[in-house]
Chain length 306, copies 2
Amino acid sequence: MRDAIVAAAHRIAPHVRRTPVLPLAPGDAGLTGPTFLKLESLQHAGSFKPRGAFNRMLAARVPASGVIAASGGNHGLAVAYAAGVLGHHAEVFVPEISSPVKVRRLRELGATVHVTGRDYADARAAMRDRQAVTGALDVHAYDQAEILAGQGTTAREFESQVDALDTVLVAVGGGGLIGGISAWFEGRVRVVGVEPVSACALSAALAAGEPVDVDVAGVAADSLGARRVGGEMFPLARRYVERVVLVDDEAILAAQRRLWRDFRIVAEPGGSAAFAALLSGGYRPGARERVGVLVCGGNCDPAMIV
Amino acid sequence: MRDAIVAAAHRIAPHVRRTPVLPLAPGDAGLTGPTFLKLESLQHAGSFKPRGAFNRMLAARVPASGVIAASGGNHGLAVAYAAGVLGHHAEVFVPEISSPVKVRRLRELGATVHVTGRDYADARAAMRDRQAVTGALDVHAYDQAEILAGQGTTAREFESQVDALDTVLVAVGGGGLIGGISAWFEGRVRVVGVEPVSACALSAALAAGEPVDVDVAGVAADSLGARRVGGEMFPLARRYVERVVLVDDEAILAAQRRLWRDFRIVAEPGGSAAFAALLSGGYRPGARERVGVLVCGGNCDPAMIV
C-alpha cells in the first residue's frame, strides 16, 4: 500500500495543493506541547478529498458518461472539481443534510446534482441505481483502493513537513482518510481516530470485529456521517489505528469556534473534530509528544461560526 | 536595520507564530506563474501586527500604567494581545469605522477600549491626550523603529520559507509593514506596495517627495486607512519600494471572495489587497517570476464575505 501511495502522490501532484502546516506556539489554545495543524481545509474544493478523487480518475479509464459519486458533500465537491479539471462529466448525489454551501458550490463547479435521501447511505443507493443505467465511473467516497491511496498522500506530505511526528489525530467518517494514513505510517506514527459520539462507525466496527451499521446524527454528520466504515480500510484500522477518541457536538463546535477565534481558520464541524479531541482532553499527549492534527475540511457557511 | 530585524526576530520568537505559506498550484485563481501566499492572517490576533507590538514592548521599559495605542483595529488587537501575554495593562483607541469584530475581540482580550473619531488619525489624537496624562508606553501603529523592525521579521521568515522569491506584494496603510520588509530585502527582492485608490498615502508621499495627508475611505479603510505614511518608513520606501499599485474597492472585494471561495482563507479587505493587485492585473508578473503575496490580516466578520 505504501507503493500505491507513492504512485498516487506522483499521479496527483500536478493537481493538488501541498497544504500548509501551522505549528502552534506554546500556550496556543491552552496547549503546552508541540502541535501542528495541517490545513487540508485549504485544499482544492475545501477538503482533502481531491487527493483520492484525482487518483481514482487518473488510474482508471473514464467512459464518455463520465464519473458518478455519492457524498455528504465534500467528496462530491472533489469529484466535481477533479472532473472539471480533467474534462469529464460529473453526476453527484448528496443527502438532504448536506450544507447549502456545498450544494451551491457543486452546481457552480458544473456537476449534475441530485439532492436525495436522509443521509449518505441513501444518496449512495440512489447513485448506484443511476450508475447501473449510465455506466459512469463510480468514484467512491471512501471504499476503493485508489481512494485510500490518494488520501494516504496526506500523511506522506505531512511527514515531509514536520520532523519526528509522534502522533496524528484524524477525524473518521467512512474511514478513507484514516485508512490511507494508517497504511502510510504502518505503526511508525501513532494514528488516533476521532469520531463524533453520534457518528461512530469505526468504534462500532472495532467493537464488533467487522464493519457494522450505526445511526448517524449530529453537527458533523454531513462530513463524518457514514453509516459504516469501508471494507478496504477496516483491516488497516484494526492493525494500525492505536485508538479511537469520541467527541460530542459541543466539543466539536467549541473547537470550530476556537479555530476561528484564535487562528482565523474556518473549519467545518467535521474538520474541527480532530482538534476537538485535543482541546476537550479526549486525547492527552505526553509533555514532549509531537502531535499532528488534520484540519480536514472547511466547507461551511462561516456565518454559522461566530 | 537588518541587524535590528534579526534582533527583533530573536526577541519575539517565543511569542509569535511562524505563519504558513500556501504555494498556489498552476492555474489557481487563473494565475499561471509560481505564487506563494503567506498567511499572516493566521498570526496571533489575526494580523502581522503582534510582531511589531511585541518587539516594541520587549525593547522598552513598560511603566506601571502599561501601554497605550491608537489603531484602526488590528494594531490595537496586537497591543492588547501582547500586553496580555506580557502582563501589562493596555488602553486602545479605535475610530468609529473599526470592524465590530475587532472591537468585540479587543474587549475580550482585556484592553480598555475607547471608540472615538472618524478615522485612525482622530483616534491617535485622542490617544495622545490620554497618554500625556497616564505616561503609558506609546506603541505606535506604524511609525517607530521597533515597530518597523518587528514587522520586518515577516520578510525574513518568508524568505526562509520560499526559495528565490523575485517579488513580494505588500498592502500599505501607514507603511510599517512595507517599511520593515523593504529594510530587510534592501532591493534584493522586488517590493511592490499595494494601496486602495481611496487610501493611497504612500503614492501621495512618493509623488510629493515627503509624507503628506490624504483623505481615506473605502472598504479597507479600517486597516489601510492611515492619512499619512510614517517618517520612519518613507526613506526606506523611496529607496527600496519598486512601485505602488492601486486597487479599487471592487478588486479588493473580488480578491476577498476569491480567497474564501477557492482557498477557504478568510482575509479582511486590507488583507486581500495585495492579492487583488495580482488578480486585477494591476501587477503583472513575468512568466517565471516567483511572487510572494502577504495576506496580512483576517479580522472581519466572515458572514460579510459570502
